[in-house]
């Protein structure tokens, strides 16, 4: 296995965590993704970008188990992943957020973040009912992790607020907190900046960088806003009409003629 690389800002990136091999996804006759391969390495921020309808979200849904690829293989930690349901993928340590925010609106922020800890809770139902001490210790430990993440994302003041009452930008942050609570090996962010104003985008970018820096979390994110992505990510996959048209560092991608054509359009004369 190779040793990774060193980023422009001097961080050591590790070996391959997740590898997509020749992924194709069809819906009936429509080809959403056509024969795409790429990898995600430990500790890096990996972006998947492309215009609307390029198949970015479909790719994220394949990684998180919501879609099953028509062809191709998904490799996780050096082993081929069998077909899995989304909750099984989550239990393997892959957490995600959604483009259209999927939170438990009736629960408080703290409860939402605590659901992120469900994969980490081991006590059985009977143990929780009968052996109170052990289950309680576990609950306390999980609570500490949740509180730490809440502090980290600066949402202490709304811990007890029902999520349904929060404004959009904060909801996005709570969703990130819930995903982080699982202490994921791989964090998937589906358009974390979509629908935000400039200030909120800057906040979110900072949090993503801090998460990567502080916890060493491997992050794969989707975004169609080129500017944000280029500042944020170590390596970028560019998709267009279901095909991969570029892969490399932001600088490499920026100067790739196919990418420029896809984003700016190309004259056909």
């Amino acid at each position: 296995m190779d040793e990774g690389y060193i980023t422009a800002d001097g961080r050591q990136i590790g070996g391959v965590v997740m590898e997509m091999k020749n992924i194709t996804l069809r819906f009936g006759g429509v080809v959403a993704i056509e024969n795409i391969s790429f990898d995600i390495r430990e500790g890096e921020i990996r972006a998947i970008i492309g215009p609307n309808g390029a198949g970015k979200s479909s790719m994220l849904n394949i990684i998180s188990g919501f879609y099953v690829p028509s062809e191709g293989e998904v490799w996780f930690h050096g082993a081929k992943r069998p077909q899995m349901r989304p909750y099984e993928v989550a239990r393997q340590g892959i957490a995600r957020t959604f483009q259209n925010i999927a939170l438990f609106e009736g629960m408080s922020v703290l409860d939402n973040v605590m659901t992120g800890r469900l994969t980490q809770m081991k006590s059985g139902l009977l143990a929780q009912a009968l052996w109170k001490g052990k289950a309680e210790a576990e609950e306390t430990a999980n609570r500490e992790v949740a509180e730490k993440i809440i502090d980290f994302l600066e949402i202490q003041s709304i811990r007890k607020t029902p999520v349904g009452r929060l404004p959009y930008g904060l909801k996005k942050r709570v969703e990130l907190a819930r995903a982080l609570a699982a202490e994921p090996k791989l964090l998937l962010l589906d358009e974390p900046m979509a629908g935000m104003n400039v200030e909120e985008k800057e906040d979110m970018s900072r949090f993503i960088l801090d998460v990567n820096d502080e916890f060493g979390t491997t992050i794969a994110l989707i975004e169609h806003d080129m500017g944000v992505v280029m500042d944020l990510s170590d390596r970028v996959v560019v998709m267009d009409y279901g095909k991969k048209i570029g892969d490399g560092t932001p600088d490499e991608v920026r100067n790739n003629q196919d990418v420029i054509d896809a984003y700016l359009g190309v004259s056909h004369d």
Binding site: F98, L103, G106
Partner: protein, 328 residues
């Protein structure tokens, strides 16, 4: 104290206890509706099926004996043993869990993401299927259920109230037991819901399926769990009603009495089911006591439904239901 007031007190007490029994049935509806948005029409038949199974196991009846005899020309009816009540109850719980698994595996799993009305239709089908199944398994004759619960007038209350008012209240021991059991059941359900990780997962599933999946919750597991708990609640209701009035087909019709309870309490609230049940229980008994004679009696048959209708007009979400807000 005037006689009328003393009678009214007795009627209220009896109403409260009848209400507890209504609440028990309503509780089963709320559990499933909260977690999966399914209005389970089969809840009443589940109570019947549970009670039938319990009696069958206790009496050592051979399940499907009519069918077996018809096919093989045999004459088997009984194993010839009697199972103690507690063991029989545990076995019946096992059967209800199995039923929950089968419902998920063969019906609900194939209807994920369907419209609520389709799921509702599926539970109507389930109700008729279960009704037939319990006939086929245990026969259709009226059975006596006796798991050893005390029945008849409670002497202590009779004497104490006689000492106080010079008139002894008639309170049935069975109703007292039902009240205690219902209270314990509700406390257990609340603790489960609020403090266990399965409870948290259940609330999560009730709120958003996709988000629940993304934090590692298996939807099928949660649904089997919910149907099992609803099956258990059905068993408890079946035991109480079955002991009171025998195990027979009309047991499944108590589900109809649970409907007004749900209208009052809201479809998504466990405390709502309890309070709704109590209001209906007390309301119909007091109404019958005070205005019944003027209206020609038998008001208990319709009072609950009229009250529900009033609620539908003025407060459709019920007393405790989540407020219906439509954003436009």
């Amino acid at each position: 104290m005037p006689d009328q007031l003393i009678y009214a007190m007795e009627v209220t007490l009896n109403g409260l206890m009848a209400g507890v029994l209504y609440a028990l049935v309503a509780l089963g509806f709320v559990l499933i509706f909260k977690a999966s948005g399914i209005f389970n029409y089969a809840q009443g038949v589940m109570a019947l099926f549970a009670a039938m199974t319990l009696v069958g196991i206790m009496d050592g009846q051979v399940p499907f004996s009519h069918m077996i005899n018809a096919i093989f020309g045999t004459q088997v009816h009984h194993f010839g043993w009697h199972v103690p009540a507690l063991l029989a109850i545990l076995l019946t719980v096992g059967v209800m869990v199995l039923l929950a698994w089968a419902v998920q595996q063969f019906v609900m799993r194939h209807l994920v993401n369907q419209e609520p009305i389709i799921l509702f239709m599926a539970t109507i089908g389930l109700a008729y299927f279960l009704e037939g199944l319990s006939d086929l398994m245990w026969g259709s004759e009226i059975k006596k259920l006796d798991v050893g619960l005390p029945q008849g007038i409670n002497d202590a209350i009779d004497q104490v109230t006689f000492g106080w008012f010079g008139y002894g209240f008639f309170i049935d021991n069975l109703d007292l037991v039902a009240t205690v059991v219902a209270a314990l059941l509700v406390i257990a359900l609340m603790v489960f819901n609020q403090y266990t990780k399965e409870g948290r997962a259940l609330r999560a599933v009730a709120d958003d399926h996709q988000a629940a999946l993304s934090v590692g919750i298996s939807l099928s597991f949660i649904w089997v769990l919910v149907w099992s708990v609803a099956g258990f609640v059905a068993l408890v209701a079946g035991i109480m009603w079955g002991t009171k009035s025998g195990v027979q087909f009309s047991l499944s019709l108590i589900a109809l009495k649970a409907l007004p309870v749900l209208m009052l309490g809201g479809f998504t609230s466990i405390p709502g089911a309890i309070v709704g049940g109590l209001i209906i229980g007390v309301g119909e008994k007091l109404f019958e006591f005070s205005l019944g004679p003027m209206l020609g009696g038998a008001t208990e048959n319709w009072f609950a439904y009229v009250l529900a209708l009033v609620f539908l007009v003025f407060r459709p979400q019920g007393l405790f239901g989540e407020k219906i807000i439509e954003r436009v």
